[in-house]
Protein backbone atom coordinates (compact mmCIF):
# COMPACT_ATOMS: atom_id res chain seq x y z
CA UNK A 1 0.00 0.00 0.00
CA UNK A 2 1.59 3.27 -1.02
CA UNK A 3 1.67 6.34 1.16
CA UNK A 4 -1.35 7.94 -0.45
CA UNK A 5 -3.46 4.83 -0.14
CA UNK A 6 -2.37 4.33 3.41
CA UNK A 7 -3.19 7.89 4.36
CA UNK A 8 -6.58 7.54 2.73
CA UNK A 9 -7.23 4.28 4.55
CA UNK A 10 -6.34 5.74 7.89
CA UNK A 11 -8.49 8.78 7.24
CA UNK A 12 -11.45 6.65 6.26
CA UNK A 13 -10.94 4.37 9.21
CA UNK A 14 -11.05 7.39 11.45
CA UNK A 15 -14.04 8.97 9.78
CA UNK A 16 -16.06 5.79 9.98
CA UNK A 17 -15.32 5.26 13.62
CA UNK A 18 -13.88 1.91 12.68
CA UNK A 19 -11.36 0.40 15.01
CA UNK A 20 -8.27 0.24 12.90
CA UNK A 21 -6.82 -2.68 14.78
CA UNK A 22 -8.24 -4.52 17.70
CA UNK A 23 -5.20 -5.66 19.63
CA UNK A 24 -3.80 -3.42 22.28
CA UNK A 25 -0.45 -3.26 20.57
CA UNK A 26 -1.74 -3.68 17.07
CA UNK A 27 -1.25 -0.19 15.73
CA UNK A 28 2.43 -0.70 15.12
CA UNK A 29 1.87 -4.09 13.55
CA UNK A 30 -0.86 -2.69 11.36
CA UNK A 31 1.37 0.12 10.20
CA UNK A 32 4.15 -2.33 9.40
CA UNK A 33 1.76 -4.68 7.64
CA UNK A 34 0.55 -1.84 5.48
CA UNK A 35 4.07 -1.05 4.40
CA UNK A 36 4.03 2.42 5.82
CA UNK A 37 6.60 4.05 7.97
CA UNK A 38 6.53 2.92 11.58
CA UNK A 39 4.89 5.31 13.95
CA UNK A 40 7.03 7.96 15.51
CA UNK A 41 5.41 7.59 18.88
CA UNK A 42 2.24 6.76 20.72
CA UNK A 43 0.09 8.58 23.14
CA UNK A 44 -3.05 7.58 24.99
CA UNK A 45 -6.16 9.73 25.37
CA UNK A 46 -8.32 9.28 28.47
CA UNK A 47 -11.39 11.42 28.77
CA UNK A 48 -14.38 12.24 30.91
CA UNK A 49 -13.54 10.32 34.06
CA UNK A 50 -16.19 12.19 36.08
CA UNK A 51 -14.68 11.09 39.37
CA UNK A 52 -17.32 11.61 42.05
CA UNK A 53 -20.26 10.64 39.85
CA UNK A 54 -22.70 8.23 41.40
CA UNK A 55 -25.77 6.78 39.77
CA UNK A 56 -27.38 3.96 37.82
CA UNK A 57 -25.58 4.77 34.53
CA UNK A 58 -22.45 3.32 36.12
CA UNK A 59 -22.84 1.07 39.18
CA UNK A 60 -19.06 0.65 39.21
CA UNK A 61 -18.28 4.36 39.14
CA UNK A 62 -15.46 4.00 41.63
CA UNK A 63 -14.00 0.96 39.93
CA UNK A 64 -13.96 2.07 36.32
CA UNK A 65 -11.04 4.48 36.47
CA UNK A 66 -8.77 1.98 38.24
CA UNK A 67 -9.69 -0.57 35.58
CA UNK A 68 -8.81 1.88 32.84
CA UNK A 69 -5.50 2.65 34.52
CA UNK A 70 -4.78 -1.06 34.74
CA UNK A 71 -5.67 -1.46 31.07
CA UNK A 72 -3.23 1.29 30.08
CA UNK A 73 -0.55 -0.24 32.27
CA UNK A 74 -1.15 -3.58 30.57
CA UNK A 75 -0.41 -2.21 27.12
CA UNK A 76 2.48 -4.15 25.67
CA UNK A 77 4.17 -0.95 24.67
CA UNK A 78 3.72 2.03 26.90
CA UNK A 79 2.78 5.38 25.35
CA UNK A 80 5.08 8.38 25.44
CA UNK A 81 2.44 10.27 27.38
CA UNK A 82 -1.19 10.21 28.46
CA UNK A 83 -3.50 13.14 27.79
CA UNK A 84 -6.66 13.58 29.86
CA UNK A 85 -9.12 15.62 27.80
CA UNK A 86 -11.25 17.02 30.56
CA UNK A 87 -13.99 16.27 33.06
CA UNK A 88 -11.58 14.53 35.35
CA UNK A 89 -14.14 15.15 38.07
CA UNK A 90 -17.91 15.30 38.20
CA UNK A 91 -19.11 18.75 39.08
CA UNK A 92 -19.96 19.74 42.62
CA UNK A 93 -21.08 23.05 44.05
CA UNK A 94 -18.80 22.48 47.04
CA UNK A 95 -15.28 23.87 46.39
CA UNK A 96 -13.74 21.62 49.04
CA UNK A 97 -15.30 18.52 47.56
CA UNK A 98 -14.14 19.63 44.11
CA UNK A 99 -10.56 19.79 45.36
CA UNK A 100 -10.88 16.45 47.11
CA UNK A 101 -12.07 14.81 43.91
CA UNK A 102 -9.17 16.33 42.00
CA UNK A 103 -6.71 15.14 44.63
CA UNK A 104 -8.20 11.65 44.35
CA UNK A 105 -7.74 11.67 40.59
CA UNK A 106 -4.19 12.94 40.88
CA UNK A 107 -3.37 10.14 43.31
CA UNK A 108 -4.97 7.45 41.18
CA UNK A 109 -3.37 8.43 37.90
CA UNK A 110 -0.06 8.31 39.74
CA UNK A 111 -0.44 4.55 39.38
CA UNK A 112 0.07 4.81 35.64
CA UNK A 113 3.39 3.39 34.52
CA UNK A 114 3.88 6.26 32.12
CA UNK A 115 4.81 9.32 34.12
CA UNK A 116 4.35 12.02 31.50
CA UNK A 117 0.75 13.08 32.04
CA UNK A 118 -0.99 16.05 30.45
CA UNK A 119 -4.29 17.42 31.66
CA UNK A 120 -6.94 19.76 30.39
CA UNK A 121 -10.12 20.71 32.20
CA UNK A 122 -13.71 20.01 31.30
CA UNK A 123 -16.64 22.15 32.29
CA UNK A 124 -17.29 19.90 35.28
CA UNK A 125 -13.79 20.70 36.55
CA UNK A 126 -13.55 24.36 35.77
CA UNK A 127 -16.74 26.16 34.87
CA UNK A 128 -17.92 26.93 38.40
CA UNK A 129 -14.67 28.58 39.52
CA UNK A 130 -13.07 29.65 36.22
CA UNK A 131 -10.52 26.85 36.52
CA UNK A 132 -9.15 27.84 39.92
CA UNK A 133 -9.19 24.39 41.55
CA UNK A 134 -7.98 22.76 38.36
CA UNK A 135 -4.97 25.07 38.15
CA UNK A 136 -4.13 24.31 41.79
CA UNK A 137 -4.16 20.58 41.10
CA UNK A 138 -3.14 20.12 37.49
CA UNK A 139 -1.56 23.32 36.25
CA UNK A 140 -2.40 25.69 33.43
CA UNK A 141 -5.58 25.20 31.45
CA UNK A 142 -4.13 26.16 28.08
CA UNK A 143 -0.57 25.64 26.95
CA UNK A 144 1.61 24.14 24.26
CA UNK A 145 4.28 21.50 24.21
CA UNK A 146 6.39 19.87 21.54
CA UNK A 147 7.10 16.20 21.25
CA UNK A 148 9.10 14.42 18.54
CA UNK A 149 8.30 16.92 15.87
CA UNK A 150 4.64 17.47 16.73
CA UNK A 151 3.44 20.78 18.11
CA UNK A 152 0.66 20.17 20.63
CA UNK A 153 -1.76 22.95 21.52
CA UNK A 154 -4.06 22.62 24.50
CA UNK A 155 -7.11 24.87 24.36
CA UNK A 156 -9.42 25.70 27.26
CA UNK A 157 -13.04 26.13 26.24
CA UNK A 158 -14.51 25.45 29.69
CA UNK A 159 -13.09 27.86 32.25
CA UNK A 160 -15.51 30.39 30.85
CA UNK A 161 -18.89 29.01 31.99
CA UNK A 162 -20.28 30.31 28.71
CA UNK A 163 -18.09 27.85 26.78
CA UNK A 164 -15.96 30.41 25.00
CA UNK A 165 -12.24 30.40 24.37
CA UNK A 166 -12.27 34.15 24.71
CA UNK A 167 -10.39 36.77 22.75
CA UNK A 168 -7.29 36.62 24.92
CA UNK A 169 -6.86 32.91 24.31
CA UNK A 170 -7.61 33.33 20.61
CA UNK A 171 -4.91 36.01 20.40
CA UNK A 172 -2.54 33.69 22.22
CA UNK A 173 -3.39 30.91 19.75
CA UNK A 174 -2.87 33.21 16.78
CA UNK A 175 0.55 34.25 18.08
CA UNK A 176 1.55 30.65 18.67
CA UNK A 177 0.45 29.60 15.20
CA UNK A 178 2.33 32.47 13.57
CA UNK A 179 5.53 30.91 14.90
CA UNK A 180 4.70 27.58 13.25
CA UNK A 181 5.46 26.81 9.60
CA UNK A 182 2.44 26.16 7.40
CA UNK A 183 3.27 22.45 7.21
CA UNK A 184 3.94 21.99 10.93
CA UNK A 185 2.50 18.85 12.47
CA UNK A 186 -0.07 20.26 14.87
CA UNK A 187 -2.32 18.41 17.28
CA UNK A 188 -4.94 20.27 19.29
CA UNK A 189 -6.37 18.93 22.53
CA UNK A 190 -9.53 20.45 23.88
CA UNK A 191 -12.61 19.39 25.79
CA UNK A 192 -15.60 20.59 23.84
CA UNK A 193 -15.88 20.26 20.09
CA UNK A 194 -14.55 23.33 18.33
CA UNK A 195 -17.30 23.02 15.73
CA UNK A 196 -21.08 23.02 16.16
CA UNK A 197 -21.60 19.31 16.60
CA UNK A 198 -25.00 19.65 18.25
CA UNK A 199 -25.58 22.97 20.00
CA UNK A 200 -29.01 21.79 21.17
CA UNK A 201 -27.11 19.62 23.65
CA UNK A 202 -24.40 22.16 24.29
CA UNK A 203 -21.98 20.22 22.11
CA UNK A 204 -20.20 23.24 20.74
CA UNK A 205 -17.77 26.03 21.61
CA UNK A 206 -19.30 29.44 21.27
CA UNK A 207 -16.30 30.92 19.47
CA UNK A 208 -14.81 27.64 18.31
CA UNK A 209 -15.13 28.63 14.66
CA UNK A 210 -12.60 31.40 15.28
CA UNK A 211 -10.07 28.85 16.49
CA UNK A 212 -10.74 26.65 13.47
CA UNK A 213 -10.24 29.68 11.20
CA UNK A 214 -6.88 30.32 12.82
CA UNK A 215 -5.87 26.68 12.38
CA UNK A 216 -7.09 26.42 8.81
CA UNK A 217 -3.98 27.81 7.06
CA UNK A 218 -1.94 24.97 8.54
CA UNK A 219 -1.91 21.84 6.45
CA UNK A 220 -1.46 19.21 9.16
CA UNK A 221 -3.86 19.79 12.03
CA UNK A 222 -5.79 17.17 13.97
CA UNK A 223 -8.04 17.82 16.97
CA UNK A 224 -8.74 15.39 19.79
CA UNK A 225 -11.48 16.21 22.24
CA UNK A 226 -13.91 14.71 24.78
CA UNK A 227 -17.17 16.01 26.27
CA UNK A 228 -19.63 13.93 24.25
CA UNK A 229 -18.79 10.52 25.78
CA UNK A 230 -18.57 8.69 22.47
CA UNK A 231 -16.50 8.46 19.35
CA UNK A 232 -17.26 11.00 16.70
CA UNK A 233 -15.17 11.84 13.66
CA UNK A 234 -15.74 15.04 11.77
CA UNK A 235 -13.91 17.13 9.21
CA UNK A 236 -13.87 20.92 9.01
CA UNK A 237 -12.08 21.34 5.72
CA UNK A 238 -8.86 19.38 6.02
CA UNK A 239 -8.91 19.38 9.84
CA UNK A 240 -10.05 16.13 11.47
CA UNK A 241 -11.79 16.23 14.85
CA UNK A 242 -11.91 13.02 16.90
CA UNK A 243 -13.89 12.75 20.12
CA UNK A 244 -13.15 10.07 22.69
CA UNK A 245 -15.24 7.71 24.73
CA UNK A 246 -15.81 8.35 28.42
CA UNK A 247 -14.74 6.38 31.45
CA UNK A 248 -18.03 6.80 33.30
CA UNK A 249 -21.07 6.50 31.01
CA UNK A 250 -21.88 6.73 27.34
CA UNK A 251 -24.10 9.41 25.89
CA UNK A 252 -26.49 9.00 22.97
CA UNK A 253 -25.61 9.94 19.41
CA UNK A 254 -26.22 13.63 18.70
CA UNK A 255 -29.94 14.33 18.44
CA UNK A 256 -30.86 10.65 18.51
CA UNK A 257 -33.27 11.11 21.43
CA UNK A 258 -35.07 14.09 22.96
CA UNK A 259 -32.77 14.47 25.97
CA UNK A 260 -29.05 14.15 26.43
CA UNK A 261 -29.41 11.51 29.12
CA UNK A 262 -26.78 8.81 29.70
CA UNK A 263 -27.24 5.49 28.01
CA UNK A 264 -28.35 2.90 30.55
CA UNK A 265 -25.85 0.49 32.06
CA UNK A 266 -26.12 -2.92 30.48
CA UNK A 267 -25.48 -5.53 33.16
CA UNK A 268 -24.91 -8.17 30.51
CA UNK A 269 -22.29 -6.02 28.84
CA UNK A 270 -20.75 -3.96 31.63
CA UNK A 271 -18.56 -1.03 30.57
CA UNK A 272 -20.06 -1.15 27.09
CA UNK A 273 -19.52 2.15 25.36
CA UNK A 274 -16.71 3.13 27.70
CA UNK A 275 -13.09 3.11 26.73
CA UNK A 276 -9.97 4.97 25.84
CA UNK A 277 -7.86 5.55 22.80
CA UNK A 278 -4.32 5.07 21.76
CA UNK A 279 -2.94 7.16 18.96
CA UNK A 280 0.06 6.29 16.85
CA UNK A 281 1.57 9.43 15.38
CA UNK A 282 3.29 8.90 12.04
CA UNK A 283 5.77 11.25 10.51
CA UNK A 284 5.56 10.19 6.87
CA UNK A 285 2.90 10.64 5.82
CA UNK A 286 1.57 12.76 8.63
CA UNK A 287 -1.31 10.85 10.11
CA UNK A 288 -2.66 9.37 13.29
CA UNK A 289 -3.78 5.78 13.64
CA UNK A 290 -6.51 5.55 16.23
CA UNK A 291 -7.14 2.42 18.22
CA UNK A 292 -10.19 2.35 20.47
CA UNK A 293 -9.76 0.14 23.52
CA UNK A 294 -12.24 -1.07 26.12
CA UNK A 295 -11.99 -0.44 29.84
CA UNK A 296 -12.42 -4.12 30.50
CA UNK A 297 -12.42 -7.02 28.10
CA UNK A 298 -15.86 -8.58 28.02
Amino acid sequence: MNDFDRRQFLQLAGLGGVVLVSAATGAARAADAMGGAPEDFWFVQLSDLHWGFEGPPNPDAKGTLPKAIAAVNALERQPDFVIFTGDLTHTTDDPRERRKRMADVRAMVGDLKVKTLRFIPGEHDASLDNGKAFIENFGETHYTFDHKGVHFIVLDNVSDPGASLGQAQLDWLAADLRAQPADARIVVFTHRPLFDLYPQWDWATRDGAKAVDLLMPHANVTVFYGHIHQENHHMTGHIAHHSAKSLIFALPAPGSQPKRTPLPWDAEHPYQGLGFREVAAHRTPVDYALTELPVAKG
Partner: protein, 143 residues
Protein backbone atom coordinates in the same frame (compact mmCIF):
# COMPACT_ATOMS: atom_id res chain seq x y z
CA UNK B 1 -59.55 54.40 2.88
CA UNK B 2 -56.58 55.26 0.74
CA UNK B 3 -54.76 56.31 3.88
CA UNK B 4 -55.67 53.01 5.54
CA UNK B 5 -54.31 51.06 2.66
CA UNK B 6 -51.04 52.93 2.56
CA UNK B 7 -50.55 52.49 6.27
CA UNK B 8 -51.14 48.76 6.11
CA UNK B 9 -48.59 48.47 3.34
CA UNK B 10 -46.06 50.43 5.34
CA UNK B 11 -46.53 48.21 8.36
CA UNK B 12 -46.33 45.09 6.27
CA UNK B 13 -43.09 46.15 4.62
CA UNK B 14 -41.47 47.36 7.81
CA UNK B 15 -41.40 43.96 9.54
CA UNK B 16 -41.93 43.20 13.16
CA UNK B 17 -38.65 44.48 14.61
CA UNK B 18 -38.95 47.97 13.18
CA UNK B 19 -42.65 48.22 13.72
CA UNK B 20 -42.98 49.91 17.06
CA UNK B 21 -41.57 53.30 16.06
CA UNK B 22 -43.55 53.28 12.85
CA UNK B 23 -46.78 52.65 14.70
CA UNK B 24 -45.97 55.47 17.07
CA UNK B 25 -45.34 57.83 14.22
CA UNK B 26 -48.34 56.51 12.34
CA UNK B 27 -50.61 56.98 15.31
CA UNK B 28 -49.51 60.54 15.77
CA UNK B 29 -49.97 61.34 12.12
CA UNK B 30 -53.34 59.70 12.01
CA UNK B 31 -54.71 61.40 15.09
CA UNK B 32 -56.59 64.10 13.21
CA UNK B 33 -57.92 61.52 10.82
CA UNK B 34 -59.04 59.23 13.64
CA UNK B 35 -60.70 62.12 15.33
CA UNK B 36 -62.56 62.88 12.19
CA UNK B 37 -63.30 59.28 11.41
CA UNK B 38 -64.64 58.67 14.88
CA UNK B 39 -65.28 55.04 15.79
CA UNK B 40 -64.15 53.75 12.44
CA UNK B 41 -60.51 54.68 13.16
CA UNK B 42 -60.11 53.11 16.58
CA UNK B 43 -60.35 49.44 15.55
CA UNK B 44 -57.75 50.06 12.88
CA UNK B 45 -55.24 51.30 15.42
CA UNK B 46 -56.03 48.45 17.75
CA UNK B 47 -55.50 45.96 14.98
CA UNK B 48 -52.26 47.61 13.93
CA UNK B 49 -50.95 47.66 17.47
CA UNK B 50 -51.86 44.01 17.92
CA UNK B 51 -50.01 43.01 14.77
CA UNK B 52 -47.04 45.13 15.78
CA UNK B 53 -46.39 43.82 19.25
CA UNK B 54 -45.05 40.30 19.58
CA UNK B 55 -46.55 38.15 22.25
CA UNK B 56 -44.51 38.39 25.40
CA UNK B 57 -43.66 35.23 27.29
CA UNK B 58 -41.99 35.63 30.65
CA UNK B 59 -39.53 32.87 31.50
CA UNK B 60 -37.72 32.39 34.79
CA UNK B 61 -34.38 30.59 34.66
CA UNK B 62 -33.71 29.18 38.09
CA UNK B 63 -31.63 26.33 39.41
CA UNK B 64 -32.02 24.14 37.34
CA UNK B 65 -35.22 24.59 35.45
CA UNK B 66 -36.94 27.05 33.19
CA UNK B 67 -40.44 28.11 34.20
CA UNK B 68 -42.23 27.45 31.94
CA UNK B 69 -40.09 24.82 30.26
CA UNK B 70 -42.49 24.38 27.38
CA UNK B 71 -43.40 27.36 25.25
CA UNK B 72 -46.16 26.87 22.71
CA UNK B 73 -46.14 29.13 19.67
CA UNK B 74 -48.34 29.35 16.62
CA UNK B 75 -46.63 28.93 13.28
CA UNK B 76 -45.67 32.32 11.93
CA UNK B 77 -46.06 34.03 15.30
CA UNK B 78 -43.41 36.35 16.62
CA UNK B 79 -42.69 35.93 20.30
CA UNK B 80 -40.60 37.97 22.67
CA UNK B 81 -39.17 36.02 25.58
CA UNK B 82 -38.44 38.07 28.67
CA UNK B 83 -36.05 36.09 30.79
CA UNK B 84 -35.01 36.59 34.38
CA UNK B 85 -32.60 34.65 36.60
CA UNK B 86 -33.23 35.18 40.31
CA UNK B 87 -30.19 33.24 41.56
CA UNK B 88 -27.10 32.95 39.37
CA UNK B 89 -26.13 33.87 35.80
CA UNK B 90 -27.85 31.65 33.30
CA UNK B 91 -27.95 31.30 29.56
CA UNK B 92 -30.76 30.79 27.12
CA UNK B 93 -30.00 29.23 23.76
CA UNK B 94 -32.54 28.22 21.14
CA UNK B 95 -30.20 27.12 18.36
CA UNK B 96 -32.87 26.22 15.81
CA UNK B 97 -34.02 29.85 15.71
CA UNK B 98 -30.58 31.37 16.15
CA UNK B 99 -31.31 33.17 19.39
CA UNK B 100 -29.34 33.15 22.61
CA UNK B 101 -28.68 35.47 25.49
CA UNK B 102 -27.04 35.61 28.86
CA UNK B 103 -29.53 36.03 31.68
CA UNK B 104 -28.01 37.99 34.54
CA UNK B 105 -29.64 38.36 37.94
CA UNK B 106 -31.33 41.74 38.32
CA UNK B 107 -31.88 42.29 34.61
CA UNK B 108 -34.52 41.25 32.12
CA UNK B 109 -33.02 39.67 29.02
CA UNK B 110 -35.14 39.85 25.90
CA UNK B 111 -34.94 37.72 22.80
CA UNK B 112 -37.37 37.67 19.94
CA UNK B 113 -37.96 35.12 17.24
CA UNK B 114 -40.52 34.30 14.59
CA UNK B 115 -41.69 30.71 14.49
CA UNK B 116 -41.06 30.14 10.82
CA UNK B 117 -41.07 26.34 11.07
CA UNK B 118 -43.22 23.82 12.89
CA UNK B 119 -41.99 21.21 15.31
CA UNK B 120 -40.49 20.78 18.75
CA UNK B 121 -37.22 22.59 19.37
CA UNK B 122 -34.90 22.34 22.33
CA UNK B 123 -33.66 25.35 24.26
CA UNK B 124 -31.04 25.01 26.93
CA UNK B 125 -28.94 26.80 29.46
CA UNK B 126 -25.52 27.26 27.90
CA UNK B 127 -23.88 28.94 30.88
CA UNK B 128 -22.63 26.30 33.30
CA UNK B 129 -24.64 27.08 36.41
CA UNK B 130 -24.16 24.21 38.85
CA UNK B 131 -24.75 20.56 39.55
CA UNK B 132 -28.06 20.39 37.71
CA UNK B 133 -26.93 22.43 34.72
CA UNK B 134 -27.00 19.59 32.25
CA UNK B 135 -30.68 18.93 32.91
CA UNK B 136 -31.67 22.53 32.37
CA UNK B 137 -33.52 22.62 29.11
CA UNK B 138 -36.98 23.03 27.64
CA UNK B 139 -38.83 23.02 24.39
CA UNK B 140 -40.51 25.42 22.04
CA UNK B 141 -43.46 23.72 20.38
CA UNK B 142 -44.56 25.36 17.14
CA UNK B 143 -47.92 24.23 15.78
Amino acid sequence: MAIDHERRSLIGAAGACALAPIVTRGAAALAPFVARGGAAGAPLLARAASAAAPRVVKVVAKKFVYVPNEIRVRSGETVELQLTAPEVPMGFNLPDFGVRTDVMPGKVAKVRFTADKAGTFTFLCDVFCGTGHEDMSGTVVVT
